[in-house]
Symmetry: C2
Subunit: 109 residues, 2 copies
């Protein structure tokens, strides 16, 4: 279960990952769910990781939070993550968009 | 149905809105769904609006995209949106977080 990330005071960085799976929810490869769960676990062990939030209906949105652009660069180049990115492009996603953003303000209850 | 927003080349701004509803999906006030849908429609008519993406499982994530911080400020102060914000705080959300971020890079397929 994804919860609201308990991020520190800004500035920090967000990677907004939006995706559509090739098949619908019932049909998609079981390997996808396991991979997605593994990537959340793996991200949490990386230097500079601050938190992650995820939800999927038809569209899936995962936002991960990081201390710096360098931390994001390292996570993107992680070997196991690179293999997951390759599988995503080749097998799982019909479309996706990755946006790297600098969080400047934050508020909430 | 939410789709991947067709945003222009960065830089632009993102408002990442993460929330938990007070009741579970089956129990929540029907007014919430109508309000959420209306806010998406209303946001799309605002100056500087670039797109919106939304998904909810247990956690809800809505990311709206804007040309400038000024466009975000105007949307936040829109009268009908202010009323929705008040209802959200008082009736619908057990917790939420709003993050305003500057999108610096974007890629995808």
């Amino acid at each position: 279960m994804s919860d609201i990330a308990n991020t520190p005071a800004p500035p920090y960085y967000a990677v907004i990952f939006s995706s559509h799976l090739i098949a619908d929810d019932k049909g998609y490869d079981k390997g996808y769910a396991a991979m997605a769960e593994r990537m959340v676990e793996l991200a949490a062990t990386q230097p500079g990781f601050l938190g992650i939030e995820s939800a999927r209906e038809n569209l899936g949105i995962t936002v991960s939070y990081w201390e710096s652009l360098e931390a994001i660069r390292q996570w993107k180049s992680n070997a196991e993550h690179q293999e997951a990115q390759r599988l995503g492009r080749e097998q799982w996603y019909s479309s996706f968009r990755v946006r790297v953003a600098r969080v400047e303000r934050e508020y909430g209850v």
